[in-house]
């Protein structure tokens, strides 16, 4: 909300400086968002008197003026305004001044051969109005040489953010009241111009919906003259960022901006029969002042006459019955609408207005009569006419909330000691009534006060939050206890292990496009109001976000990208924590040592997968490599890692070329995904945590390695062979490692050659030849069960 300090001082008697005012506003919870000083824009423009006006020798429409600037010799100024004449006073812009309307800096110049030392300005040039027919004419008593900004009283404009709980401060008067309570001055009484009401209100006013519109007051003023508003009113509205329209409209806006009280003026000539607050008929339509037509439903309150709807209650008036320059008789409406209903209606219609903002937060129920008197008085004073008596339908809420307050609560909750009489003073200055027993009766306009804590807030914010001293939280004895849960520890370890493996952690959007989600089996959650089609479906996988990042990286010319993310997959039943990584581009660049660049393959992904799972504490030696990595992957170059057929910990492999194509990425690209919840973690038992590990001493005897090369049917996997070989003798064989895979010359079709290095560890005594031979035979026999035969 914006207002000028001049306006503020209409309501607040104060000597405070601008800085004091803004500091206090901030301190009491009316946050200053900005301060604008219009006089800065008018710097260099002064009041000047035209001494003489002669015709320009070479131009019919120009005159050469001699202008008294208040100091020194008169200046010669060329001017094209028809109203420029000797003896008048106006506004002179001297060289160096910047014209607000176009940002041009004035310079000394020759106009058609005659020197001009400045410019006499129109209202439009100074952005004071639309008037450009001539230069500004100032009254005879305007002081020559005086700064024009000071002369016209353009004062700094303060922009404050009013929180939704304080509709009572959505008017300058309310802000003045708060400032007065904070000791910044004295609140001035509301001055209502006197007028005589005569005769009953000629229009029947009713509320047929006492829930939605508990009170509807109105009166008619006959014989008004609408037209432009006086300067003081225009200036105030402009300082609030409102465009002056006409006196009648401006005065209703003034009531709203100065007192937080929306009201409406109808052109009586356009009404027919009784004016009624009622629910809209389903499907009923109305065109309102923004020139849009809205279709209403039965939950919405409207103001209507016999023929049609004239107002969406509390939100916006109808286009048909608004006042115009021709209006002579008006019906003033001042009503109280149920706040929640206004909010619901506004949201349903998607219609925002200054009136709605105030009504849905709650206007002052005690300000109907006074507001109407004030509005009437101002209209009669400025637009003339004769006011009728007030017609009142219904009554606004009048029961004031009483809160049992304990002043000790201020220290208990607010952490600051405030003397009881000061607490009482603060509350009373905000119009709370404080009984001797601290029963506090709240003003009706303070809809936000629910209980004692709200009164603490009132006391503390006026007393000053800066008075609250820091107090240390009580601290448990000793060193702080660990707090991280096993899942949090798991994430931390995975994250740092992944970064340690050379991957960059990325954070990508939780939402992706529908198409992307489809490629990963479809998303379970689709936003009703997405910000764009690209951010519509909650991701079922972390890969799409990473692939988009990879695509962008490649578009930017990067040769490789290794990125991972730890985050949630959003499934119907739950949000599943997951890790995904994408390895794209060059695994190793071309090099003087290794020759050509090497792209990533499925084994790179497997290696990362195992490194991470091991870091996470998964039993990697018991993991089984199985199929069904999913449609995102190359069907022949992907796998899953499982502990038992149903417990899938990870998927990895090369991504499907069709998927990569949809991202415009040149493959191959390797990827992996880990399900964090599938990783088993040890549960802490009761009692102290045990840190001790099982006992171990490295075996003293030298280990022995033996190589075996087998011819194996092509469809037997290396993993099965390793398991068979290792299982051949569980005490002596401590490791079996594939070191060669070969097909081709010397290997019959349908077979492959697999070579193993088997490590044997003697326990008590070194092996004898006979023992070694026996173990070898067991290995060969175990391999034979899978159809493998030892190569000769």
């Amino acid at each position: 909300m914006k207002f000028s300090t001049t306006w503020l001082k209409d309501h607040l008697e104060t000597d405070a400086s601008l800085e004091q005012i803004t500091d206090t506003l901030n301190a009491i919870g009316l946050e200053v968002e900005g301060v604008e000083d219009p006089s800065e824009r008018l710097a260099g423009f002064t009041v000047a008197k035209v001494l003489t006006a002669e015709k320009h020798p070479d131009a019919d429409k120009l005159q050469v003026l001699s202008v008294d600037t208040g100091e020194g010799e008169p200046l010669q100024v060329v001017c094209g305004a028809p109203n420029a004449r000797a003896g008048m006073k106006g506004v002179l812009g001297q060289p160096g001044a910047v014209v607000p309307a176009n940002g041009m800096e004035l310079r000394k110049a020759a106009i058609r051969g005659v020197e001009s030392n400045g410019m006499m300005c129109s209202r439009r040039e100074l952005e004071l109005g639309e008037d450009h027919d001539g230069i500004i004419e100032l009254p005879d008593d305007a002081p020559v040489g005086y700064s024009f900004a000071d002369y016209q009283g353009s004062s700094p404009i303060i922009d404050v953010a009013i929180t939704p709980n304080r509709p009572d401060c959505m008017g300058v008067y309310g802000i003045a009241r708060d400032l007065a309570a904070a000791g910044l001055g004295t609140l001035k009484p509301i001055a209502i111009p006197g007028f005589e009401a005569s005769g009953e209100c000629p229009i029947d006013i009713r509320t047929d919906d006492p829930d939605g519109c508990p009170a509807f007051y109105g009166r008619v003023i006959m014989g008004v003259t609408n037209g432009p508003s006086p300067d003081w009113l225009q200036q105030r509205l402009k300082s609030a960022g409102q465009k002056p329209i006409s006196l009648l409209v401006d005065l209703t806006n003034y009531l709203m901006l100065a007192y937080g009280r929306p009201a409406h003026a109808y052109d009586l000539a356009k009404l027919s029969g009784a004016v009624v607050a009622r629910r809209a008929e389903p499907g009923e339509q109305v065109t309102v002042l923004n020139d849009k037509t809205y279709t209403l439903d039965e939950s919405m309150v409207v103001i209507a006459d016999d023929r049609q709807v004239h107002d969406i209650a509390g939100i916006m008036g109808g286009a048909d019955s608004g006042v115009s320059d021709q209006t002579t008789d008006v019906l003033l409406e001042i009503a109280y609408f149920e706040p929640a209903r206004i909010g619901v209606t506004g949201r349903k219609l998607g219609l925002a207005s200054d009136a709605r903002t105030r009504f849905e937060r709650g206007v002052d129920p005690a300000f109907l009569d006074k507001g109407l008197e004030l509005l009437t008085g101002l209209i009669v004073e400025l637009a003339g006419g004769t006011a009728s008596a007030v017609s009142r339908a219904g009554s606004p809420p009048s029961e004031r909330k009483v809160v049992a307050f304990d002043p000790a609560l201020t220290a208990k909750l607010g952490g600051v000691e405030v003397a009881e009489n000061e607490q009482r003073r603060i509350l009373e200055s905000l119009d709370f009534e404080v009984a001797n027993d601290w029963q506090v009766t709240c003003p009706l306009r303070r809809h936000d006060i629910e209980g004692p804590a709200d009164l603490v807030e009132e006391v503390v914010r006026i007393h000053g939050l800066d008075q609250v001293e820091s107090v240390a939280l009580p601290r448990a004895e000793g060193v702080a206890r660990p707090t991280a849960t096993p899942n949090q520890m798991l994430e931390r370890k995975l994250r740092r292990a992944a970064a340690g493996s050379g991957l960059n952690e990325a954070i990508t959007w939780s939402f992706i496009s529908e198409d992307e989600a489809e490629r990963f089996g479809g998303g379970d959650w689709t936003l009703a109001n997405p910000i764009s089609e690209d951010m519509k479906v909650m991701r079922p996988s972390l890969l799409p976000g990473l692939l988009s990042a990879v695509q962008r990286s490649f578009d930017r010319g990067l040769a490789s990208a290794r990125v991972f993310e730890i985050g949630r997959r959003y499934l119907r039943e739950d949000e599943k924590p997951a890790l995904a990584a994408v390895l794209a581009g060059e695994a190793t660049p071309r090099s003087w040592q290794t020759g050509k660049a090497r792209g990533f393959d499925a084994y790179d992904a497997k290696a990362v997968c195992l490194t991470l799972l091991e870091a996470a504490g998964a039993p990697v030696d018991r993991l089984q490599v199985m199929g069904e990595a999913g449609e995102a992957y190359h069907p022949g170059q992907s796998a899953t890692l499982r502990l038992g057929p149903k417990n899938r910990l990870a998927s990895f492999g090369v991504l499907h070329p069709a998927l990569l194509k949809s991202y415009g990425i040149e493959g191959p690209v390797a990827a992996l995904e880990i399900e964090l919840e599938a990783i088993p973690h040890k549960k802490d038992g009761k009692g102290p945590v045990s840190f001790a590990r099982p006992g171990f001493a490295p075996p003293p005897l030298q280990s022995v390695t033996r190589d075996f090369a087998f011819l194996v049917p092509e469809d037997v996997s290396a993993g099965d062979m390793v398991r068979a070989v290792k299982g051949a003798d569980k005490t002596d064989i401590v490791a079996a490692r594939v070191f060669d895979v070969f097909t081709g010359e010397g290997v019959p079709g349908g077979q492959k050659s697999l070579a193993f290095e088997v490590t044997l560890q003697p326990q008590d005594k070194s092996y004898t030849d006979a023992q070694l031979k026996a173990i070898s035979e067991k290995v060969i026999a175990a391999a034979a069960k899978l159809g493998a035969e030892l190569r000769g």
Partner: protein, 366 residues
């Protein structure tokens, strides 16, 4: 001079002059080989009588050991020379690049979350979590924002068409505050938690992204007041920015779920185009910057989670993680946080070894 002596001298001279290991070996064979002259001399001892042998043997054996020693010595010299020559031929250009190992990195948001966990653990706070797809009861109603509350409309909420079993509208949480509700319901009071995580608002421009990160703080106990809130935030910021000159300014504000509600500003100054936290915002050259919202948990919220507000009270706060990360580590573009550009991640990310610790200071030095 005996014949033996002169032959020995000749052999020693030849050994010393042997130009190569092969030439040396020829000398060895000629002298000490099976048919070498020294070996033959030794054989003559066999035919001698014991006395003769006693006389002749020492001289011959001395010759043999002198020659053997000379050969060893010469061999050592020749081998050293050979090694030196070989090594000289093996010189490589060590300015050539070694194999490169890719450097991984931790995202600044994760790093800062770890820092938060570390600092707040010292103050007795655990890290709590909650769903991002929430229902409107937890996100709004339980936080004292009923359906018609104007503050609800100000949240720019992403909604789902779904309603859950209790006919609550499903949505993306607009703040981390629903974790307060879930944590209090689950674990009651007293409680000290922080809840970092993703939150969502349907807002997107240069400084706003539809997804961002917040951390919620919550303390509920018997005698907690605004002074404790102020201390906690001051203490946190001092630890987080590792400087003692942090000055906070509390301003009254409004959040439906706190009463009184307090906006927290911190003093800062500009160094170049970078904001540096520290100093008093009212001092010359300094200003205030909004850091987050906070306040005493509204009694209605405490009731809503089934606690007795006559017994329990406390504070809550919310801070933007991305924002404090930017302030601390100097990024200026929020959108880049979620772009996944490896170059940005390498530049602004952290080494896996930068695990925040209290003893080392939680921040990672530039």
């Amino acid at each position: 001079m005996t014949d033996l002596t002169s032959r020995k001298d000749a052999a020693l001279a030849a050994i010393a002059a042997a130009p190569s290991l092969d030439a040396l070996d020829e000398q060895r064979v000629a002298a000490l080989g099976k048919k070498g002259w020294v070996s033959l001399e030794l054989k003559t001892l066999g035919a001698m009588s014991a006395d003769e042998r006693k006389q002749a043997a020492p001289a011959i054996q001395a010759v043999r050991s002198d020659i053997a020693e000379a050969i060893d010595a010469r061999r050592a010299v020749l081998e050293a020379a050979a090694l030196e020559a070989r090594l000289a031929s093996e010189t490589i250009d060590l300015t050539l690049p070694a194999p490169e190992k890719p450097k991984g990195s931790i995202h600044p948001v994760s790093q800062v979350m770890d820092e938060l966990a570390e600092i707040f653990a010292d103050l007795g706070f655990a890290v709590a979590e909650g769903p991002e797809i929430e229902d409107d009861w937890h996100n709004f109603t339980a936080l004292n924002m009923d359906e018609t509350h104007p503050a609800r409309a100000m949240h720019d909420t992403f909604y789902f068409p779904e309603e859950d079993g209790a006919e609550h509208r499903m949505l993306l949480r607009t703040h981390t505050s629903p974790v307060q509700i879930r944590s209090m319901k689950k674990q009651g009071a007293p409680i000290r938690i922080i809840a970092p995580g993703r939150v969502y608002r349907s807002d997107s421009d240069a400084t706003h992204t539809p997804m961002f990160h917040q951390v919620e703080g919550l303390v509920i106990d018997r005698d907690i007041h605004l002074g404790h809130l102020k201390w906690t935030l001051e203490t946190f910021f001092k630890a987080f920015f590792e400087r003692e000159d942090i000055v906070l300014r509390l301003r009254p504000s409004y959040f439906p779920f706190t009463e009184p509600s307090v906006e927290v500003d911190v003093g800062y100054s500009n160094e170049g185009d970078r904001r540096v936290v520290g100093g008093h915002g009212d001092d010359e050259g300094y200003d205030w910057m909004e850091l987050g919202g906070s306040g005493m948990v509204n009694a209605r919220v405490i009731e809503m989670v089934g606690l007795d507000p006559a017994e329990w009270q406390g504070f809550a706060f919310g801070l933007g993680i991305d924002r404090i990360a930017m302030l601390k580590y100097g990024m200026n573009d929020l959108r880049a946080f979620f772009d996944g550009d490896p170059r940005w991640l390498e530049h602004y990310g952290f080494s896996p070894f930068d695990q925040p610790t209290l003893s080392g200071g939680v921040g990672a030095r530039a």
